[in-house]
Amino acid sequence: MLTTFLVTLKTLIRDRSVLIWAVAFPLVLSTLFVAMFSNLDELQKLDPIAVVIVEDANYTNAETFAETIDALASEDTDPDAEDGEPLLAPSYVANTDAALTALAEGSYEGFLQVDTESMPHYTMDARRVQSLGFGNPSQSVMQSILDRYVQDTGLLTTLAAENPALFANPAFIQSLTDGSASTPTERISVTANPPSDSQRYYYAVLAFSTIMMTTFALAAIDRVLGNTSPLGARRSLGGQSKLRMLAPTLAAAWLLGFACVLVGFLYLQLVFNIDFGGKEAATVLTLAVSVLAATLLGALLGALPVPLAVKSGLVAPISCGLSLFAGLYGPFSQNLGDWVARELPWLSACNPVRQVADAFFALYYYDGYAQLVPCLVSLLIFSLVFFVASVLIIRRQRYASL
């Protein structure tokens, strides 16, 4: 058995096309992801909203509104902005025609003008309402800014009509100028580590890497069975029982797969400082269990009585398809995966790649290990199902016989 183990290990290492899948592919993807998403969290912050303002007589007369706009354009009005970026980036023009011309250039979200009663009117560029790929939160933020002004003004007008004496009270006037300092909000964090959008990509790519380890077991099992490869046919004539061949073969495939994902994990952690919640031992355990599930899935695929080319062709689509719901393919697939997890949790539970990604999430976001356990149990159940299915297929196969 030791000889089978060592020979399987050597033959798998020497198979260049298997190594492309198991080693090169995950490392290339990891590098790509880190290069792309290392500053994703920064990029997701809202840029100052580019808006055109018609600076005509109405705007000049609406002093309070103009002061509000000036404040939003100069102060640190974005609570998440650490660099003091303003919320608005206004450009001023003389009239509506000039505003429309500026809008046609495509650099602005919309233009703002004030009517004779000092009430703002906002005109959005249709292209900015309907942007390629994402909805546009800038327009909603703009609307919220203007609504607040209109609501405050409307309420004060009503109060002035009902109780004019109120505005003779200096305390009331003073209280109005206090602004948001008097209605504070406090940002708190409940997770073990701060939420990070880029982490989703790193976890998805590592989960994808683990499922790609099916290639090792698939190639190894194909070389064991008598009806799938000439080498398997020759080995079937030997004196060893199937169990004595399969056990070391799968052990070698698992060890090699585990070593590969470990390299990927260390590559992410040591080279790129990707955070796994400071629970390295649990992460390594998760990888080991994940590779076990992948190895036994590979054994199942390898046991199928079809040519190796067909079986190998199945690995990429299965891995990529399952990874779609783990959020590997960007925001759209993350939304789809999250939707499936919410609406069809049983379907999400049937996806081993999602379970691996969820396990990394559990390690990163939760204080203890309680959330990790269901993911690991789920992966062990997958392993058992794949193992039983592959054994049933291998046992039922009949080779050429009298």
């Binding site: 899948w21 109060l159 305390a171 209280s175 909000t185 409940v190 925001p331 759209f332």
Partner: protein, 420 residues
């Protein structure tokens, strides 16, 4: 046309690649497009604050009339999400993006809020106003919007409370509710005359580049590669069909594959969830330009697959390279990210070397400018770069193929020299 027919037969000898890459990933594109139908389009965008409705969970630890009013405000203005008031549930809601914004109304908030307002109304030093606690997850722009919305409501609530310090909570809430129903006036101006492609059809045609790239690379590569495998190639060289005619027929078979793939993926865009049919009826020219862009792009993976076959890559390796290239192209050019705006400057510079970046540029030109002269110039310029990529890759493949055909292993002049 024996080689052509064989090439066509070979396409269907790899049903897994065909089904998975072209059909499967094409349908994934449809699913992803359909899952984004919630995003507002120009026609659907409301002239109030309906453009986005972040998912918000409210944890009311106060239980006062005022806190219930605040809770009701969030329910009305956002997409409410129920989250239990436990650390684990809050962590799960944050980690799994169940709620993009969580508001916690602390115990005693209602009393403290009114006390601070009374203090302000009395003109004394205002008692420290209580703070609403908020938790945000990934969507930073949603958080900015929600912070503003929160301030918007708390502001009118506070003014109402200061103006009428002796009023009941219900009266304050009613006054705040009346005020918060006021909105600034808005409209949307169309800066282009034609009906623009909807976000959905743009999204689908962007995604289409992924199955097209990955699928056609692997299929073209294995078809060309099959004809060039050792013994088969030698046997074919002995046939009465000249190598140039044979290669032309194989290429014609692959072109047929390209056309079938393109047609299938474009037909998928006509499904109602992708918005293609709607665009076709409203503005057939733009739809056809979208389809033409996809056709031009399709010849890039054809050339790349041909190049891989000339490099001697076989099925499994071609499959691996096709996946790496398909994913890398799609990520770097912003296909999966809804455009390049979410990529850093360095990556955007790299993206210029990716054909799908220029394909997306051509789509974007149509989205932004319709069929105006400027837009069509941008469209054709971007597609021109895609064509150049295809030509360069194809020429490189021909060069490598030529060299391989003349090496010792293939029986070219070096073999004769070795024999001598």
């Amino acid at each position: 046309m024996p080689a052509f027919k064989t090439a066509i037969r070979l396409i269907f000898r790899f049903p897994v690649f065909l089904l998975v890459y072209i059909v499967g990933l094409g349908l994934f594109g449809v699913a992803i497009t359909a899952s984004n139908t919630g995003t507002a389009t120009a026609e659907e965008a409301q002239l109030t604050d309906e453009a986005i409705r972040p998912s918000v969970a409210v944890i009311d630890r106060d239980g006062s009339e005022l806190s219930e009013g605040i809770h009701a405000f969030y329910t009305e203005r956002t997409t409410p999400v129920a989250v239990e008031d436990t650390t684990l549930a809050l962590q799960t809601a944050t980690a799994q993006d169940l709620a993009s914004y969580i508001v916690i109304i602390p115990e005693g908030y209602g009393v403290a809020f009114r006390e601070a307002a009374r203090s302000a109304a009395a003109g004394g030093s205002e008692t420290a106003a209580p703070a609403l606690q908020t938790i945000v997850n990934y969507a930073q722009s949603d958080a900015v919007y929600m912070d503003l919305l929160t301030q918007e409501y708390l502001s009118v609530l506070r003014i109402a409370a200061i103006a009428e310090p002796d009023a009941t909570d219900a009266e304050i809430l009613e006054r705040a509710a009346t005020a918060s129903n006021l909105h600034a006036s808005y409209d949307i101006v169309e800066t282009q005359v034609e009906a623009a492609p909807s976000e959905l059809v743009s999204l689908y045609f962007s995604w289409l580049s992924y199955p097209m790239t990955a699928g056609l690379i692997v299929l073209t590569s294995v078809i060309f590669g099959t004809f060039q495998s050792g013994e088969l190639r030698r046997r074919n060289l002995c046939s009465p069909l000249s190598p140039s005619k044979m290669n032309t027929q194989i290429a014609a078979g692959c072109v047929a594959l390209v056309l079938m793939t393109w047609l299938f993926l474009v037909l998928l865009s006509l499904l109602p969830v992708c918005g293609g049919l709607e665009l076709f009826t409203q503005n057939p020219t733009i739809f056809l330009l979208f389809a033409l862009a996809a056709l031009v792009l399709a010849f890039m993976p054809f050339s790349l697959g041909f190049l891989l076959s000339q490099l001697g890559l076989r099925e499994m390796a071609s499959n691996g390279v096709a996946n790496i290239v398909g994913l890398a192209f799609s990520f770097l050019s912003g296909v999966f990210m809804g455009g390049t705006q979410m990529l850093g400057e360095g990556i955007q510079a790299v993206a210029h070397a990716i054909p799908t970046y220029w394909y997306l540029g051509a789509l974007e030109a149509l989205v932004q400018g319709g069929t105006s002269a400027e837009a069509l110039t941008g469209y054709s310029g971007n597609l021109g770069v895609v064509v150049l990529f295809s030509i360069v890759l194809f020429a490189l493949a021909l060069l490598i193929g030529h060299r391989r055909a003349q090496n010792a292993e293939a029986g070219g002049n070096p073999a004769a020299e070795q024999a001598a």
